[in-house]
């Protein structure tokens, strides 16, 4: 199914637990996921679904005192879970680049743009100053900065939000990492700028053949850019498949409900679909059974699995729990969706 040489990251049974009081609660609960070469993998979910925690677990940004990460994150036969800091520091930036949501917060306001991009190169490469400067100018041009020479000497506050996000992308790709993690890269930006940044990410992905993990809550962004999609709910992965499959044939009740609650372009003044209840908080999460069950109370308990597992519903398309088989919306005829 998957050729081992195409595999960039292999995440197995990942749990990330946060300390609340004296107990640990799983914010990411038993996630199995692979990132392949040459693809954009989107992780989509609402706030509190654990999508950002998954990303920060991969890049190892958690404080070990308050967080427990267990399971395996395999990269080139190296397990990133519990890796010691000096080795991790060689991987961050060099093998895994990270793009953050708020570009202004991610950039140092007192450093010139050129020096900030070069910082990664200083740490990870043996380039001379001249080589570094040349590489930085090349990067600035690659991310579509109109006047690289000038921007090289500017400070972050002199640039617009879109330009700043381009700088953050330039920093992330400076060492040509095979893996790039983009955590809500366009949430702070206007729609027109968002479209430009997403196009840029796709172009970079095609040029460098890297694997990008795109974390977002915006289904539109996913549909426009991703090759594969992982839908997360309450710390668990509920659906995984190609973008085509997930959007054309959404299968898990959560995915179907989410797509239905979007204001649709062709639908008119109808009421929007509302998912009953709220996303459970870390402390109130039910630990056994299907976590989405309490939001679809009309589905009989027998439809769910006691311990939900992933089921293959098509080539490369997986869904958690058995409740998808009989699930129907309340206003739908039950027999219709079963057929």
């Amino acid at each position: 199914m998957e050729k081992p040489e195409d595999l960039l990251l292999d995440i197995q049974h990942l749990h990330t637990a946060f300390r609340v009081g004296d107990d640990f609660y799983d914010a990411v609960d038993d996630v199995n996921l692979t990132l392949r070469k040459d693809e954009i993998l989107a992780i989509v979910g609402e706030s509190g679904s654990g999508k950002s925690t998954l990303a920060t677990s991969i890049i190892g940004l958690h404080n070990p005192l308050n967080t427990k990460v267990t399971g395996d994150i395999l990269y080139n036969n190296l397990n990133l879970v519990g890796l010691n800091e000096p080795i991790y520091n060689r991987i961050r930036g060099n093998d895994i680049g990270m793009i953050f949501q708020d570009p202004l917060a991610a950039l140092n306001p007192l450093m010139r743009i050129g020096d900030q991009i070069a910082e990664t190169l200083v740490y990870h490469t043996k380039m001379t100053k001249e080589q570094r400067d040349a590489r930085v100018l090349e990067l600035l041009a690659q991310v579509g900065i109109p006047n690289p020479q000038r921007t090289f000497r500017q400070y972050p506050h002199e640039l617009s939000g879109g330009m700043r996000q381009r700088i953050v992308i330039a920093i992330a790709i400076a060492c040509k990492p095979p893996i790039i993690i983009a955590d809500e890269p366009t949430t702070a930006l206007d729609v027109t700028i968002q479209a430009q940044i997403l196009d840029l990410l796709r172009d970079i992905q095609k040029e460098t053949h890297s694997g990008i993990i795109l974390i977002t809550h915006d289904l539109g962004v996913v549909a426009e850019t991703a090759d594969r999609v992982a839908v997360m709910y309450a710390g668990q992965m509920v659906e995984l498949g190609t973008a085509q499959d997930v959007f054309a044939h959404p299968t898990h009740p959560y995915t179907r409900s989410l797509l239905r609650s979007m204001p649709q372009a062709d639908a008119d003044d109808d009421e929007l679909h509302v998912i009953q209840g709220v996303v459970p908080s870390l402390k109130n999460m039910q630990m056994t059974g299907c976590r989405f069950a309490e939001r679809i109370p009309w589905v009989p308990e027998t439809a769910h699995e006691a311990t939900p597992t992933m089921h293959e519903v098509g080539p490369d398309h997986f869904v958690q729990c058995t409740c998808y088989k009989t699930f129907h919306f309340q206003d739908e005829d039950a027999t219709q969706s079963e057929g």
């Binding site: 609402e46 706030s47 939000g161 206007d190 729609v191 027109t192 968002q194 479209a195 430009q196 997403l198 196009d199 809550h217 915006d218 289904l219 539109g220 962004v221 549909a223 426009e224 850019t225 991703a226 973008a243 085509q244 959007f247 054309a248 409900s257 989410l258 797509l259 609650s261 979007m262 204001p263 649709q264 372009a265 639908a267 003044d269 009421e271 929007l272 679909h273 509302v274 998912i275 709220v278 996303v279």
Partner: protein, 316 residues
């Protein structure tokens, strides 16, 4: 007659500089806009950050001093403070803010937050007041024990619903909703939008719906305008704007909306690239030499766009 008529509204901020700190220039945040909000209707105001859309909203509630122009409420100019008081304008026009956490006082209980506008505008006994707060919480679908809690105890969607409850507390005629759902998750956004619609139908409230999200505006509004650089580039009905956009800026905004059909991805991208290229090449044609948006030209009965060439036709 429309509920609110806005005529040639201008809001300019002075730029001070030099040794004497004298006014050297102005930022034209809002530069001559005209529109009407009908009773019981939702009017959409769309624009990117910095386009001046929130400034218009604030000016209507009276949070922003107007440089020149008029805002007529039921035919009377409320840019004058005396008229505002006589018409009970501040009672009839309320606002919902984008960030629900920062718009609720963290040290007040929900009861006091929702009761504040009631206390300002009417004399109710404590029991009547509590009953009214109870009613309002029912309207937005919150449990009654929410009354004794503090804002931090609620989720984002619940807080935004409390914001809606506070806004409808005085039975307003118009609610300015400044990006009411842009901080919310998709499923919660659906809840809040449904509540806003239901309340509108029940109490015949008008909304000025300010947003950058064209999908949400399309769902909520019949009439809308697109704003850029402090001026309107296009006004029209839903069908006019989404099916027949005339101004390059409107086309550009529409092409940037992500579509949920991955199959059309490449086609969308090509379309977007073409529009972007057109925007780069033809920007000068759609904006005058100072980068200002042209005056609006009427295209059909409900559709206006800031196009330059129609003007020349008219002169010739």
């Amino acid at each position: 007659m429309a509920l609110i008529e806005i005529r040639d509204l201008k809001i300019h901020y002075p730029i001070r500089s030099g040794f004497w700190n004298r006014v050297t220039d102005h930022v034209l945040a809002v530069d001559g806009v005209n529109f009407d909000i009908e009773e019981g209707e939702t009017y959409g105001l769309i624009g990117e950050s910095g386009s001046g859309k929130s400034t218009i909203g604030k000016a209507i509630v009276g949070l922003e001093p107007v440089t020149s122009g008029h805002i007529f409420y039921k035919g009377e100019d409320i840019t004058k403070a005396s008229n505002r008081k006589r018409l009970k304008y501040n009672k009839d026009v309320q606002m919902i803010f984008q960030d629900s956490l920062s718009s609720l006082n963290p040290r007040k209980r929900i009861e006091d937050i929702i009761a504040e506008p009631i206390r300002n505008f009417s004399n109710l006994t404590p029991t009547e007041e509590r009953k009214r707060v109870q009613e309002l919480l029912d309207i937005v679908g919150m449990p009654s024990d929410a009354m004794y809690k503090y804002p931090h105890e609620f989720s984002g969607g619940q807080r935004q619903r409390i914001g809606v409850a506070r806004a409808v507390a005085t039975n307003p005629k118009l609610i300015i909703a400044d990006e009411p759902v842009s901080a919310l998750d998709l499923s919660v956004q659906a809840q809040v939008l449904n509540f806003m619609k239901r309340i509108q139908q029940e109490y015949n409230i008008s909304y000025l719906f300010i947003s950058h999200d064209l999908g949400v505006v399309k769902h909520m509004c019949k009439e809308m305008s697109i704003m850029h650089r402090g001026r309107f580039v296009e006004i029209g009905s839903k069908a006019d704007i989404y099916n027949d956009p005339r101004h390059i800026y409107t086309k550009r905004l529409l092409s940037a909306i992500p579509d949920v059909k991955p199959a059309d991805r490449e086609a969308n991208r090509e379309h977007r690239k073409a529009i972007e290229a057109e925007f780069r090449d033809e920007e000068n044609r759609y904006y005058d030499q100072n980068g200002r948006v042209y005056d609006l030209q009427q295209i059909s009965q409900s559709h206006w766009a800031a196009l330059p060439e129609l003007k020349k036709d008219g002169e010739a």
